[in-house]
Symmetry: C4
């Protein structure tokens, strides 16, 4: 793959991911008649199924990180070059915002929105740390023992994490920042963003240490 | 496969797909007590699971296009001969209508119905273009890198797209026209059909260009 | 496998299937506060997931037919010997009843019940014929082209068929008769049973003819 | 794998499993506006998807038992050494409690809770015996015929068992005891715990006998 194709694929994949997350959140909220559990069920099924497809689609094209802490993980493990990592992160943030706007445009909402949904408190921070810890653990372990299953594993993990974490598992700084630009079901107010991103980075670093140790003696796949 | 078997399989598969889409929409609407999110959940699970099975069943028999823009895509890429493509599209339109009538018959509804549900506006058009763009992208990328996963990928993609696109993702001209013949949950009024079909063709053409470029350097599967 | 193990496995598997179908129906009805779509969602997810597991578990032990029309299909195609087929059908009917009673016992209901839920009319008959046609078609086509996928295909097919057929897809004479012995969500009144079973046999025969023709020229798997 | 990594992996995996079970129960209960079927749907989808991922993650590290009766089964079949089994069971009980506390912390609930939800009666005991019988049967049969499918089979089995058993299928003594420490949707009062654990052990022993006989003549996988 040429460099330009790599970056374009990473941006397009992240944009499609955000269109799925935000679009299905709007659809759920509009149809669920005020029952947030039903809205979250639709949001969950769409995001889980969408992630499995998107990672399968883009893994051969860009690696399908879609997530700065995933890129950071591969950078720290020496699997992604620093220059490429920088461009990937930029592509992820820009793609994510475009995806949010695409969702707004489809649903006839104003493109430019600012979320007013505060997501604060230690519980939310811990939830994001645990969510990201599990996500990075999912990737590191399955990449080593059964790499062809990793795309499905990530989709299933996020399906679970939408429900078991108090924050509904953003687990992704690009997704977090972009979701501050939608005042819908999936939104997050800007003041809550720094806690989320800091927790995500912390969770990823702990995952790197813990799972790095756990898989140390396991022979790599061939 | 003989020519006749090809065409018959394509028509039967498309008929079964429409029976699933329209039948599960009627079931959802009848049972959900007015909560459209719950009706859409049932409609989604049935359609997604059904598509995965139907494509596995008919892929060895006809290729399991079930969709004129999919046939158009394979025609433009030189994978389907023009004469076969023409018969496929005819089989798809006829099969789709028969599937709608089969759903009506099972649920004791009048066979002949005309939908009154308008689905208009730029947002709906954009939604259909994005839905079809993603569908064609799903097929082109997974066919190249992991073809045995394409049937599952298409089912999961439509599962997501029922929720993340404002139009609930028709993404198929034969499905669109046939759904104008049901005045139930899955229906679309005839005046809204041209916008949907034009948007679907536009989305498919853009997908051919974008994903055709993205997968250009990737070696084909062997 | 010895003959006794074959029969025992077929009976146990069918019993577990009925415990899943009837048990999850009772659970859905008890919790769903009168919303039948929500009850059916729980019933569907349990049955679909349960079928995939049960067929994987019992396929190497008995073939995992769990269904007299499936046994009939394999008998007519020459894949099952007549004497074994006879014992299988007996095992299926007996296992099914035991499964219903196990569900009643778990939920603290009287073991012996007679359903009062009439499921009559041409639409219901057509629905059962179509449901069984699709089930046999799923088995015949995937067994030929991708046999390791058949267990999953059957589970996904029934997931879809619970929603797209007006009868919620019994598609199985042993299941039908056993469900006349539960006066819960999944029940069927005895007077409706003959129509269901006749329609199931008709659907299976048509599937044998249609799919037998469609897959005629496809080379068998090796 | 060194001994320490084995034990640490087993404890961490069990902790993550309980965080999923209890956390998604709290989320479901908070959002479902009193409709327990909707809460259970969210709880089910999270637990099923989470189990598939967790077993894939930890199977190469510790075997991913997460369950004293699974460890007991492997001990009785001679697949796990007695000393390792002892440490595993300790790791499971300790990990399970930590997982419950992690869920409480994320959702801003008091860490230390005692459940008041009585789950008593013969039906509940039978349900736990059947639930565990099916779980051990799932593991024994799929491990023999298709071991790469076992992680998915267990997740799908529990998905079904949350709905078809009257007890919502704890099927695990460590999970049962830990869930006595949460006064939320997934809780169980301490007086009900002994019945559950005794039933689980009984179900496992019966499964060992029945499925041990059924798979006796089947050649092991190679």
């Amino acid at each position: 793959m040429s460099f330009a194709r790599n970056i374009a694929a990473e941006a397009l994949g992240t944009a499609m991911l955000l269109a799925v997350v935000v679009g299905s959140g709007i659809m759920g909220q509009r149809l669920a008649a005020g029952n947030d559990a039903i809205a979250l069920l639709g949001n969950t099924i769409a995001t889980g199924a969408g992630l499995v497809v998107l990672i399968h689609m883009f893994a051969p094209l860009s690696g399908a990180h879609f997530n700065p802490v995933v890129t950071l993980t591969f950078l720290l493990r020496g699997d992604t070059a620093p220059r490429l990592a920088l461009f990937y992160v930029a592509a992820q943030f820009n793609g994510a915002v475009i995806g949010v706007w695409a969702a707004h445009a489809m649903f006839g909402e104003p493109l430019w929105q600012i979320s007013t949904k505060l997501r604060d408190g230690w519980g939310q921070g811990l939830a994001e740390a645990i969510a990201t810890f599990g996500l990075i653990g999912t990737i590191l372990t399955t990449q080593r023992s059964r790499p062809e299953f990793t795309p499905t594993a990530v989709g299933l993990y996020i399906t679970a994490a939408y429900w078991f974490t108090a924050s509904t598992s953003f687990a992704n700084p690009a997704v977090t920042l972009a979701r501050s630009l939608t005042d819908s079901f999936a939104g997050i107010a800007l003041p809550s963003v720094p806690l989320f991103i800091a927790s995500q980075i912390a969770g990823a670093v702990v995952a790197l240490l813990v799972f790095g140790w756990l898989i140390l003696e396991e022979p790599p796949h061939v």
